[in-house]
């Protein structure tokens, strides 16, 4: 076990609402660590619609998802938030001293006064392709990511998908695997044109096979895959394979937070509308992940929730301090924190 990181607040989720919470908490001198399953900030804005315009951010008649994230990162920079990307929260417990311990799936421990869940629609996880019985092969023959290329050495590999992940791994694993078959439902790809050209070149050289179609069934025993049935334009084809890498994009799941014992309402976390606190005191939920009567899943609602949550967290972190409400426009002490004084 690593030495715990001591901080004020752990924010689960680095989407727009989690990022703005850093700003609000920062005004009250509360230092934040953020944990996110993605490899960069922005959550759904960055993953689902970076280039699509948003029209309901106050004072921004039109802003793209990525531009909103970039602006938020700029706005919170003075508070020096620390990010833990490619991580999922795996453990959570209350410590005897009243603080909380949050554990990541990489074994890091963080100790904090308060936990803020700003996890949006949940954590992004690879989508399981709709192939009957695929569960039986997961973890033994079917993998959704490549942790170590060596695991595919000497295997008959079936890669499914038409995006960058599918193409990149086709190119990278070809020298390692015994054989590589790429299956995609059409001859057009979403991947970088350069990768697509390289893939077709490899096919010309006979190094890989490309099959148009959709995987409809798997064959094997005891989790050991032996073949896949692919429905192609000319009917069913059986492809011998011992490992399969499906790349069907990401979906959102609440994940281990579902097991924290928080009161829920249809897979959302119930909170009050004064502090946006969950049924566990000291644990807050803001943004799309929470529910209260009248809840609207809007980014601007999440921003409001972050501001009110901060009032409650500041009282927990500094119980003896008088809370002074100040405006950033006029308060010299806030401006000092923002680095504009």
């Amino acid at each position: 076990m690593s030495t715990p990181i001591e901080t004020d607040v752990v924010i689960v989720g680095a989407g727009p609402v989690g990022l703005f919470a850093v700003f609000e908490l920062g005004l009250y001198d509360l230092k934040c660590h953020l944990i996110d399953i993605l490899d960069r900030p922005g959550g759904q804005c960055a993953e689902l619609y970076p280039e699509k315009p948003i029209y309901d951010i106050p004072a921004w008649p039109e802003i793209s998802g990525q531009a909103l994230v970039d602006r938020l990162m700029e706005q919170i920079a003075p508070f020096k938030p620390e990010f833990h990307f490619n991580r999922m929260v795996s453990g959570f417990r209350k410590l005897e001293n009243g603080r909380f311990e949050v554990e990541t799936d990489e074994g890091e421990l963080l100790h904090c006064h308060a936990v803020v869940i700003a996890a949006g629609g949940g954590s992004f996880q690879p989508k399981r392709p709709p192939v009957p019985g695929i569960e039986a092969y997961e973890g033994t023959s079917v993998f959704y990511s490549v942790r170590r290329m060596e695991e595919f050495r000497g295997q008959d590999l079936l890669i499914v998908g038409g995006g960058d992940s599918a193409l990149d791994w086709t190119l990278n694993l070809q020298p390692v695997a015994k054989s590589v078959t790429l299956v995609h439902r059409r001859p057009d790809f979403r991947a970088a044109p350069d990768s697509v050209n390289k893939m077709f070149a490899m096919r010309e050289e006979g190094k890989i096979t490309f099959q148009v179609g959709q995987v409809t069934g798997l064959k094997g025993e005891n989790g050991q895959l032996s073949a896949a049935t692919v429905k192609g334009p000319d009917g069913d084809v059986e492809i011998a394979c011992t490992r399969m890498l499906p790349f069907f994009g990401l979906t959102m799941k609440l994940g281990p937070i579902a097991d924290w014992g928080l009161n829920q309402h249809e897979n959302l976390i119930s909170v009050d509308t004064e502090k946006f606190e969950t049924s566990i005191p000291g644990v807050f939920a803001i943004g799309d992940i929470n529910w209260y009567p009248g809840k609207l899943k809007l980014i601007l609602s999440g921003f409001h929730e972050a501001a009110l949550m901060t009032q409650a967290v500041a009282r927990i972190a500094h119980p003896d301090q008088k809370m002074v409400f100040q405006y950033t426009t006029s308060s010299t002490s806030l401006q000092k924190k923002l680095g504009v004084q």
């Binding site: 689902l48 619609y49 699509k52 629609g121 989508k127 392709p129 709709p130 998908g161 038409g162 995006g163 995609h184 439902r185 059409r186 057009d188 979403r190 959709q214 069907f248 994009g249 979906t251 959102m252």
Partner: protein, 106 residues
Amino acid sequence: MTKITLVAFDGTRFDIDAVNGSTVMENAIRNSVPGIEAECGGACACATCHVYVDEQWSDVVGSPEPMEEDMLDFAFDVRPTSRLSCQIKVRDELDGLVVHVPERQA
């Protein structure tokens, strides 16, 4: 008003008076048609409002734009008549349109 019909996977027909300019997905959600999830709310970012356009209508409805075609890669059992219902806008020519909901969304 334009009349459109969504046929759920179990065969239940939903005959809907749709406003021109609205999407087939929006009408499905408003009328609680089972099997249309529309997780992303119509941003063409999730492929959970996948439908099969009735063969008689596929020419009139037209084919998907490249972005929608990309997103269809994530749908289950994609066929030549597959479309994402959030990308089909209701218009006069679609009066009588029939679309079928697949067995499941991805």
